[in-house]
């Protein structure tokens, strides 16, 4: 038995996660979302407001 944490963050990782579980490797899925892509003007405003 292997215990550990897997950060699921790539396309197809759900399949990998399922496979690992089938093999009795105990993994804990951590929800992850990709960083928000901001339009440049919005990004500039947010940067300007950062203290």
């Amino acid at each position: 038995m292997i215990e550990g944490k897997l950060k699921v963050f790539t396309v197809g990782a759900e399949w990998f996660y399922q496979e690992m579980n089938k093999q009795d490797i105990r993994l804990y899925k951590i929800d992850w979302a990709p960083p928000v892509e901001l339009p440049k003007d919005i990004s500039d405003i947010l940067k300007a407001l950062r203290k």
Binding site: V36, I42, I45, L46, A48, R50, K51
Partner: protein, 421 residues
């Protein structure tokens, strides 16, 4: 703005912090007491015969979704301005009738939100800031005017509500004004989140109104009408939210959201420091569960002013308090908790009055911040009813709808322009 050009961006960040603190303090200090029911024309400032109020951001009659158009036609028949839907459609298209958003008249009403001069509205007073807010009466679920339902039975029920129920409720609450903030706090601990589930609050309201209402003309029939409608409190929670958030509007530099509302075409937001401006993105079809016989193909895009509840930390942001709702709208308990947790990430503060027992009595997220929404992409979500796109069908399901990020982007752009960032 007079001196924004002279301020550095760091100064502006300090101004935002204190303005937002002021905004949430005003919501926390506010009161929401139901003091009357009366015809819209008698109590809503600016209301008149040729004016019809509707949900969402501004929209012309020709651009309205079919359900909202039928609701407009229905109220013109109710007002004896037309004999049938065809006549009403002609009148509504003629330019003789003015259409304006509820939000611009201190009002908020569910789904079509259509309100005309003679319709009875609830009057909610926030005595801390000397303002009032209004909402039409709750008809029920299913085939009803606010969902674009139309039939003789629907119009008859509305006439009874205007002639008997409204005046009776008026007498009852004049005898005993009802503190809606207290009911909301109690019912939140009983599993209501105040956008979809109102079972506890409607019962608590009924308990308060029962005795005085029995002494009126509506009597037992009025009591039955309320008892049969487990969302009756929806049309009280909404003006309560409006009465509480309005004093937080118009604070210079504040980035707190004071309006969230949909008309089936657009989803509009308003921001405290940009008073009176609308920022609109597309309204989506909510994701959820459908009543037997219906599917997403039958669904209309999101509509109604009910997302006003999210602006004061209720609705989607109170989902963790209402696990029962998630099943109804097709989610899981984990999803419900996540909606509240996401709310904390984009809010300025937490409610002092609305506490979630299963989060160790943590206050609900309060004061949606357009800066944080833009930073995280976590747009407000609501548990909402889904209206049918074919007029006359009414409600076809319930689900979760999201505010469009485009509206928050545009609001931030306008904010930067106004304050010289």
């Amino acid at each position: 703005m007079t001196n924004s050009k002279e301020k550095t961006n760091s100064d502006i960040s300090d101004e935002i912090e204190s303005a937002n603190e002021e905004a949430v303090n005003r919501v926390n200090k506010g009161k929401a007491v139901l003091v009357d029911f009366a015809p819209a024309k008698k109590v809503i400032p600016g209301m008149k015969d040729d004016l019809i109020l509707h949900a969402g951001p501004p929209i012309e009659y020709k651009d309205m979704i079919p359900a909202m158009k039928v609701a407009v036609q229905g109220v013109l028949i109710l007002e004896n301005r037309a004999k049938n839907l065809e006549e009403a459609d002609k009148l509504a298209s003629s330019g003789e009738i003015e259409f304006r958003p509820n939000h611009e008249f201190s009002s908020a009403a569910p789904m079509g939100g259509v309100t005309s001069a003679s319709m009875y509205v609830a009057v909610v007073e926030n005595e801390s800031f000397d303002n009032k807010a209004y909402c039409n009466l709750h008809e029920g679920r299913g085939k009803i005017l606010r969902f674009g339902g139309y039939s003789d039975e629907i119009i008859e029920r509305l006439r009874w509500m205007n002639d008997i129920l409204g005046p009776s409720l008026s007498k009852a609450v004049k005898r005993k004004p009802i503190d809606l903030k207290v009911i909301t706090s109690k019912a939140l601990a009983m599993g209501d989140e105040f956008h979809q589930r109102f079972i506890a609050s409607s019962l608590l309201f009924l308990k308060e109104i029962l005795d005085p209402l029995l002494d009126t003309e509506a009597g037992a029939e009025g009591v039955d009408f309320i008892a049969e409608r487990e969302q009756f409190f929806l049309n009280l929670a909404m003006p309560a939210a409006k009465a509480l958030i309005d004093p937080a509007d118009g604070i210079d530099y504040s980035t707190v959201v004071t309006r969230l509302t949909r008309n089936g075409v657009g989803y509009g937001i308003g921001v405290s420091g940009l008073k009176g401006e609308w920022f609109v993105g597309p309204a989506e079809i909510p994701k959820g569960l459908y009543f037997p016989g219906y599917s997403e193909e039958d669904a209309e895009h999101d509509f109604g002013d009910s997302a006003i509840t999210e602006t004061i930390g209720l609705g989607g942001y109170a989902s963790a308090a209402a696990p029962a709702v998630t099943r109804f709208v097709g989610g899981t308990v984990k999803d419900a908790n996540q909606m509240t947790m996401d709310g904390y990430k984009v809010s300025v503060s937490e409610s002092r009055d609305f506490l979630i027992p299963n989060l160790n009595f943590r206050g609900t997220p309060l004061g949606i911040d357009i800066i944080k929404v833009n930073q995280t992409g976590l747009v407000p979500k609501s548990n909402t009813g889904i209206g049918g796109k074919v007029p006359g069908v009414g409600q076809v399901g319930a689900g979760i709808s999201r505010a469009p990020i485009e509206a928050f982007r545009d609001a931030l752009r306008a904010y930067a322009k106004k304050y010289g960032i």
